[in-house]
């Protein structure tokens, strides 16, 4: 079989090398090459779908080669339905981000071409982290991703970029190293039980780990993922990182990269340590609900557009972890779909907000106002993105949010009810933002802002189209997600609660 996943990872990686080799000062060429490469990667990822059997819940398109044989470490990749969709999310958003960020890298500490090379490296690593089926390989990609992001934020961001980049890095390193400890422990245990140590995820799920140890190992993985996701109270790096990052970086960071956290919970934390997961479920449900409400309340109080969007994401990540740990098919499928939908929804918000900010040279909400009159197309796109953030039925985020809620309700009614308060708060933070930035009289300094350029329209149109189409036809995605969710539930050993009948 054709090594789809390796190819898909190599294309942007080689592409970044090509860009690095381009002569100095050829910025436009660098951008064009980056866009072309990312489009090729997108094409390959779509072709890859032909070889994917959607009815199977297991790993497919697998490749496996020995890497460090003495420790049983392999270069092993493969995807199930969930990983496949997240890889597609990365390959779809990469060209959009490149196109949208055309003029965002001019004031960086490094050259323009470095920016685009870093984006492509990041894309390669994201493919790797979702495709890895060897826990050690996963860990390597998990940490490697930090490098391009660190430089993207620290070198091309706004005023607070150094602080934000370092904070991001430290948080992630801290979590990553906890995970490393747990990974090594898994290896030791597997050596104990199988005779030969392994990092193969499928093999590792067959380990019998004592209750006490399982809990510690679970926490090692979970905290790393909760920082990445980010879950309250591990969230404070996100608003700073996002506020400092360029909009394009923010999209890849929050839209795709942070999904590694929730993906990791599904792929690693649950199947590897099912008993520990069940033990910690009540606590995690509580943290998720706090995230939903807390993120939304803080979003309402923000004065900076990007920080506001960051807090909405914290709220939405709360929904995702809620769905995962509800451990019902609706919760899990909804959470997975949420990861994809949130990627597009947040991409739309960050990109358009970024264009607003670069035009107005301010990210303060109070500096905007009346944009609907000045820049109607930009205002409309921002409005649709906002409606997606508040999960309006008919848009994609509604389907996932409702699945999460209904899936949670069947097991933890009160958790679902409290989380549903989030939909009221979402209306508040979106509509307050919309009113202050788009409605009202035209604020001073906004009179002559230009509307979206053709390039910007091309970048945002596909995102909005996806948001609307998936609102009515989420079926193709759910068809891919459901078998994987069924399999995950079998591994973890849970079944859906039956209807009560109202007795």
């Amino acid at each position: 079989m054709f090594p789809w996943l390796t190819t898909l990872g190599l294309i942007p990686l080689i592409g970044s090398g090509v860009i690095a080799l381009l002569p100095k000062g050829r910025d436009l060429l660098a951008k064009q090459v980056a866009l072309a490469i990312s489009l090729v990667a997108l094409l390959v990822s779509l072709l890859m779908l032909a070889d994917f059997q959607k009815n199977s819940g297991g790993l497919q398109l697998v490749e496996s080669h020995n890497w460090i044989a003495s420790f049983g470490i392999k270069y092993a990749v493969g995807v199930d339905g969930i990983a496949l969709l997240l890889i597609l999310l990365a390959t779809i958003l990469a060209p959009i981000v490149i196109l949208a960020s055309w003029n965002e890298a001019e004031n960086g500490r490094f050259s323009v071409k470095a920016f685009f090379a870093l984006i492509l490296i990041l894309e390669a690593f994201m493919v790797g982290v979702f495709a890895a089926t060897d826990v050690f390989l996963f860990y390597v990609f998990f940490e490697a991703m930090l490098i391009p992001v660190y430089f993207l934020i620290g070198s091309f961001g706004g005023t607070q970029r150094s602080y934000a980049a370092v904070k991001f890095l430290l948080y992630s390193l801290f979590g990553g190293l906890l995970m490393l400890a747990a990974v090594i422990a898994l290896y030791v245990i597997s050596k104990d039980q199988f005779g030969a140590g392994t990092f193969d995820i499928t093999a590792l799920t067959k380990l019998h780990i004592g209750v006490q140890l399982q809990r510690w190992l679970f926490l090692g993985f979970f905290i790393a993922f909760a920082i990445k996701a980010p879950l309250w109270p591990f969230h404070t790096w996100l608003p700073d990182a996002v506020a400092a990052a360029t909009p394009g970086t923010a999209v890849l960071l929050v839209g795709v990269l942070d999904k590694v956290g929730t993906f990791g919970m599904l792929r690693y934390a649950l199947p590897l340590f099912p008993d520990a997961a069940k033990f910690f479920t009540p606590a995690i449900i509580v943290l998720s609900i706090i995230s939903v409400i807390y993120g939304a309340l803080l979003a309402i109080g923000q004065t900076d557009i990007k920080r506001l969007i960051a807090f909405t994401s914290i709220s939405h990540f709360g929904f995702i972890t809620l769905g995962i740990f509800a451990m019902t098919s609706q919760g899990l499928s909804g959470a997975t779909l949420y990861m994809v939908n949130h990627g597009f929804s947040t991409a739309a918000l960050f990109l358009i907000a970024g264009w607003m900010i670069s035009r107005r040279k301010s990210s303060l909400i109070s500096d905007f106002g009346g944009l609907q009159r000045v820049t109607p197309v930009m205002a409309w796109t921002f409005f649709i993105a906002g409606m997606s953030a508040l999960a309006l039925p008919g848009l994609s985020s509604f389907v996932s949010e409702f699945l999460v809620l209904v899936g949670t309700f069947t097991r933890y009614p009160w958790a679902a009810i409290i989380a549903t308060v989030g939909i009221i708060l979402a209306a508040l933070y979106v509509l307050i933002l919309v009113q202050r930035s788009l409605h009202g009289p035209i604020a001073p300094g906004n009179e002559n802002l230009p509307d979206l350029s053709r390039r910007e329209k091309y970048a945002i149109a596909p995102v909005l189209a996806v948001i609307i189409v998936l609102g009515f036809f989420p079926k193709p995605l759910l068809d891919v997600i459901n078998p994987t969710v069924v399999q995950t539930m079998q591994v973890v050993g849970v079944t859906d609660p039956a209807p009560t009948g109202g007795k």
Binding site: L173, L178, L403, T410, A427, H439, P474, T500
Partner: protein
């Protein structure tokens, strides 16, 4: 009752066109942009009319079938399917939804026509028509969806349309705020609808009307916790959408929207969706008497609440809005009475659709002729200058206060009668409240009538009132005809009641009335006469000041301020909420983030240096963390080996 009976017997491939036509119009006008400015309004009106024609065709087909087989459905596609949660995008047209389809597309098309002239000079007329078409599509989806989740899509869709249209002139901050308020209040209701849907799924494993009806039908005892909770949550949803207590405060502000919007969305159709929801959910409420009682209570409170507010408003649109709130209170009350009241709720909804939409269009016509003045204290004597508006508005007036044989008489009289027939102290209380409401309605509507059309002219300088153009008058005339005749048409021979019987009250045997219908009618007419008389004494016999008097009783003051609903919301929800978001923001920075930075500082050495984080420190931190991880691993291995 045989609740397991499926709602649809056959299928029809036409149903989707009811929604698709106006949806297409909205899409063309919004995506086409300025290119469609010249003909967009014609297209939108035509497509709305097309949808009405499809509705008529379906009605004729429906009349050709027998009672039990009148419902038809259309499967569109699989929307969401996960585990047992299977939602098809499917439509259902039965005796109940056809009433709404014809009301929405009929009144909707008339209002499209009216708006061609009304919005003629607005730069964004095309956008206005796009929103109107979008509204029609969403409202039709609301009443045609075959499950609660499909209904939900239309439910929030009309909320969005309402938001866009209330804020149509959102360059004025007050209007933008009014739009936001409406959306948020509706979202509180949507919270209820969401929870109701979750309860339905967790309890019956289905969220379709058929599925929930079948599940509820299997329950032996009344008042199961699940059904009561679901009923209460559906009521919350209805309260949000239909501006019922305690979520009513947005409707008055919603008058910021252009007047045709007030007529269509905030009088005739969208705000009555709550009545639809409760009537549609009859299989839930009929088995949850506690929830039904809540419905009745909400209805009674709101019908009095709205009526009292209506007595003190000088803004003609706000007076009519208060009246709408009150009239919907009647409908909710009737729906809360169960099988005895559903048909009357729908009947009043339909007649109200005619007379209230007609009066709003009349108010728009008056504003059109009076330089957009809305203060009735600056009207007066307009009957001579706007005869068509006067006559059509007057017919609507006679209908709403319930003068026989105008339409409101039939529908309201039936509700009052059914309220008394609820029996016991309960029947007496709600029946008397409904009677009192009728008296107050007669008072405040007479006041509106007198202040607007009679007495001396109190116009602002430079006002030259004139009758509106033909395109505005014709819809008003048609609605006025409805205001006159619809009640008799729907009521005589119990035609609407029999029509709806298979859907909402199958097998229901009407109890013998506790008060004779004649007595109830006499009481009602007496109450109306009293209300009219008081208004006459107050507003014809005494001059009307051009400025609202300030030395008024505490009751008037309270009514002017909407009985302090906004003040309450502000002090109980808004201010504490703002305080909460601000203090949480502070806590987030100082405590959570502070703790993190503090730990960082601890590792790095001094806090001063930590604040100036430089790349050098990354190494330091990493080393410390790596060291920590190594110790952790060592500890674990030690424990293990």
């Amino acid at each position: 009752m045989d609740s397991a009976h499926a709602l649809a017997a056959g299928s029809s491939s036409l149903l989707v066109w009811l929604i698709a036509l106006p949806a297409l119009g909205a899409a063309i006008l919004l995506l086409g942009g300025r290119r469609t400015d010249k003909w967009g309004h014609v297209l939108a009106t035509g497509l709305s009319g097309g949808s009405f024609v499809v509705g008529i065709v379906e009605l004729i087909r429906m009349l050709g079938r027998s009672g039990e087989n009148r419902g038809v459905s259309q499967h569109l596609f699989t929307w969401i399917s996960v585990g047992h949660f299977n939602i098809e995008a499917g439509l259902l047209l039965d005796q109940l939804s056809i009433c709404f389809v014809l009301l929405i597309t009929g009144v909707g098309t008339l209002i499209h026509i009216y708006s061609i002239t009304y919005m003629e000079h607005d730069l964004d007329r095309r956008r206005f028509f796009a929103y109107l078409n979008f509204f029609i599509a969403a409202m039709l989806l609301l009443v045609l969806g075959n499950s609660y989740l499909n209904l939900y899509v239309g439910w929030e869709g009309v909320g969005l349309a309402s938001y866009l249209l209330i804020g149509f002139w959102n360059q004025k901050p007050v209007y933008a705020t009014a739009a936001k308020k409406a959306f948020v209040a509706n979202r509180v209701g949507d919270f209820g609808l969401s929870i109701a849907i979750m309860i339905a799924f967790a309890t019956f494993g289905s969220v379709s009307f058929d599925g929930v009806a079948a599940g509820a039908g299997k329950l032996a005892n009344l008042n199961s916790g699940a059904l009561t909770a679901m009923g209460a949550m559906l009521l919350l949803a209805a309260a949000g959408k239909s501006a019922q207590f305690p979520l009513q405060s947005w409707l008055g502000d919603a008058m910021a929207g252009p007047t045709p919007v007030s007529a269509l969305i905030h009088a005739a159709t969208m705000v009555t969706a709550g009545v639809y929801l409760i009537t549609r959910s009859n299989f839930v409420f009929d088995r949850a008497p506690t929830a039904q009682l809540l419905v009745v209570i909400v209805g009674v409170i709101t019908l009095l609440f709205g009526a009292v507010i209506g007595t003190a408003k000088d803004d003609i649109k706000k007076a009519l809005a208060a009246s709408t709130m009150s009239q919907i209170g009647y409908m909710i009350l009737a729906a809360g009475l169960g099988p005895a009241g559903y048909a009357f709720a729908i009947m009043h909804l339909l007649t109200h659709g005619f007379f209230k939409a007609g009066m709003f269009l009349g108010a728009g016509s008056v504003m059109h002729g009076m330089n957009d003045e809305v203060d009735m204290r600056r009207y007066g004597a307009l009957r001579k200058f706007m005869p068509a508006t006067f006559v059509t508005f007057g017919l609507g007036y006679l209908a709403i206060i319930g003068v026989p044989p105008f339409s409101g008489f039939y529908s309201k009289d039936k509700i009052i009668e059914a309220a008394f027939n609820a029996g016991g102290a309960r029947g007496l209380i709600i029946g008397s409240a409904a009677l009192l409401g009728a008296a107050i309605t007669a008072f405040y509507m007479t006041r509106v009538m007198i202040m607007t059309f009679f007495g001396k002219a109190r116009w602002a300088e430079g006002t030259h009132p004139h009758e509106s153009g033909k395109l505005m008058v014709v819809p008003m005339v048609i609605l006025a005809i409805g205001s006159v005749g619809a009640g008799a048409l729907l009521s005589i021979g119990s035609s609407l009641k029999n029509w709806l019987e298979p859907v909402v009250s199958r097998g229901f045997v009407e109890p013998t009335p506790r008060l004779s219908p004649l007595l109830v009618s006499t009481l009602a007419i007496g109450a109306v006469a009293l209300g009219v008389l008081i208004a006459y004494l107050k507003y014809v016999r005494q001059p009307i000041p051009e400025l609202a008097p300030t030395d008024v009783s505490i009751f008037t003051r309270a009514a002017r301020r909407d009985l302090y609903q906004d003040a309450f919301n502000e002090s109980v929800f808004m201010r504490p909420g703002q305080y909460l978001t601000r203090s949480l923001g502070f806590l987030d920075r100082v405590f959570i983030d502070g703790a993190v930075n503090g730990i960082g500082a601890l590792f790095g050495g001094t806090s001063v240096r930590a604040r100036r984080l430089q790349t050098g420190y990354v190494r330091t931190y990493s080393l410390f963390i790596l060291g920590g991880a190594a110790i952790l691993v060592a500890a674990m291995l030690a424990a293990r080996l």
